[in-house]
């Protein structure tokens, strides 16, 4: 075999081996994907902060009790939106995402993060918390309290009320009298007692 054809074959083989490494230009198009860095903006970030004085779609919050939790500067006494089974279900879901790991799934303040050394939040079943206005719970979720961060930026007002409703349901569940249950559930309860 002549040296020329040998090197041609070698070159071909090398090319074959390198082929899988080829990158298409189409795989990285000149657009900014979410959270991608960008050389275009001075701070190097592709995600742009909201322009001051503008309101994003879906974020026009009316200045009423449903979004502030306050009326005439005071926390509202009762949840200002309609409470339904759907709202409670949503509250349960949101509680599981945002609250559960600190406050515990039953609300005694003994979640997993607390068991790993985070300061113990108060239980929901103290005399004080059983009697605070609903607006107070809303305000704590919104702005935080002590070591608890505020969730204003992460949970929509509607869902914050859902959580308030769920916490109220939890409180009721731990202080309920068996005689208040509907008959079929009461039968189930006595059946398990025996």
């Amino acid at each position: 075999m002549s040296p020329v054809s040998r090197s041609a074959i070698l070159g071909l083989l090398l090319g074959l081996v390198l082929l899988p490494g080829c990158v298409q230009e189409m795989a990285n198009q000149p657009r900014i994907d979410p959270l991608e860095p960008s050389a275009f903006f001075p701070d190097g970030s592709g995600a742009r902060p909201q322009v001051p004085g503008t309101i994003a779609r879906g974020q026009l919050y009316a200045d009423n009790a449903a979004t502030t939790g306050r009326e005439d500067g005071e926390p509202v006494q009762t949840i200002p939106i309609e409470v339904s089974a759907g709202l409670l279900a949503e509250g349960r879901k949101q509680y599981g995402i945002y609250c559960d790991h600190c406050h515990g799934s039953a609300g005694y303040g003994d979640g997993m993060v607390v068991q790993r050394g985070f300061p113990h939040p108060p239980t929901y079943y103290s005399e004080r918390l059983l009697n605070v206005p609903d607006g107070h719970l809303f305000a704590v979720i919104t702005d935080g309290l002590g070591r608890m961060p505020g969730y204003k930026a992460r949970i929509e007002p509607q869902d914050r009320w859902a959580i308030v409703a769920y916490v109220r349901a939890l409180q009721l569940s731990q202080h309920a009298d068996a005689s208040e249950l509907p008959a079929d559930l009461r039968n189930e309860l006595t059946a398990t007692d025996e």
Binding site: V17, Q29, I97, P149
Partner: protein, 215 residues
């Protein structure tokens, strides 16, 4: 007439003919193996991250919901990654002196975001959307594997078109009821509706048109 070739040439010529066939097949095989190897598909490969964040700790042990950090996974195409504030919810108090968390604290002080290296990244010509999959009952586990057992994040699946299509041809097989989408180590029991029932309930069809994913 004297023989030009020694009889042993018979063997040599056979070996070289079969050898050539074998060589071509081996070359094809090696090529295919490279394309499917972790080197090319990145399956099982761990990326260096600014902070060695462990899903095993946070999800498996502590039990934090995916949506605490990947907030838009149910509502948007992009699942979202947590900002530094989210880490500081807990780590302003917990492990507040850990040297491992210094990059998080520094990012919090300076406002410079943490630059996570992407583990899953489709080419830009393919369109993927989390919201539709999660809402129609495809679980995180089905595509991302046992995240709750990953000390460091890696790719469970190739993300090749072939993989997408394997499911898109018969999505019923992979569906779960909506409430079990975030669960791991999940097994259906007698009361769970079958895949066909779920597909009928959500109106799920097999979607294999090119324009589904290349738009």
């Amino acid at each position: 007439m004297p023989q030009i070739f020694h009889p042993s040439m018979n063997t040599i010529s056979r070996v070289s003919i079969f050898g050539a066939v074998f060589f071509v097949m081996a070359a094809v095989g090696v090529g295919a193996a490279i394309v499917r190897s972790p080197y090319a598909t990145e399956v099982g490969v761990v990326r260096v991250q600014p902070v060695p964040f462990s899903h095993q700790h946070h999800v498996g042990d502590v039990g934090i919901d995916c949506r605490y950090c990947h907030r838009s996974v149910e509502t948007e195409a992009f699942a979202g990654l947590p900002s530094t504030d989210v880490c500081m919810d807990c780590h302003s108090v917990l492990w507040a002196d850990s040297p491992m968390l210094e990059p998080v604290r520094e990012s919090y002080r300076t406002g410079e975001p943490l630059a996570w290296n992407r583990v899953h990244d489709l080419p830009d010509y393919a369109y993927f959307n989390h919201a539709i999959h999660v809402r129609q009952g495809v679980a995180c586990e089905t595509c991302h594997g046992r995240v709750d057992e990953m000390p460091l994040m890696y790719r469970e699946e190739t993300l090749h078109m072939q993989w997408c299509l394997e499911c898109h041809r018969n999505p019923e097989v992979f569906l779960r009821p909506s409430e079990d989408v975030f669960a791991f180590d999940w097994e259906p029991d007698e009361s769970t509706p079958t895949g066909e029932e779920l597909a009928a309930l959500h109106g799920i069809e097999s979607k294999t048109d090119c324009s589904t994913c290349h738009r």
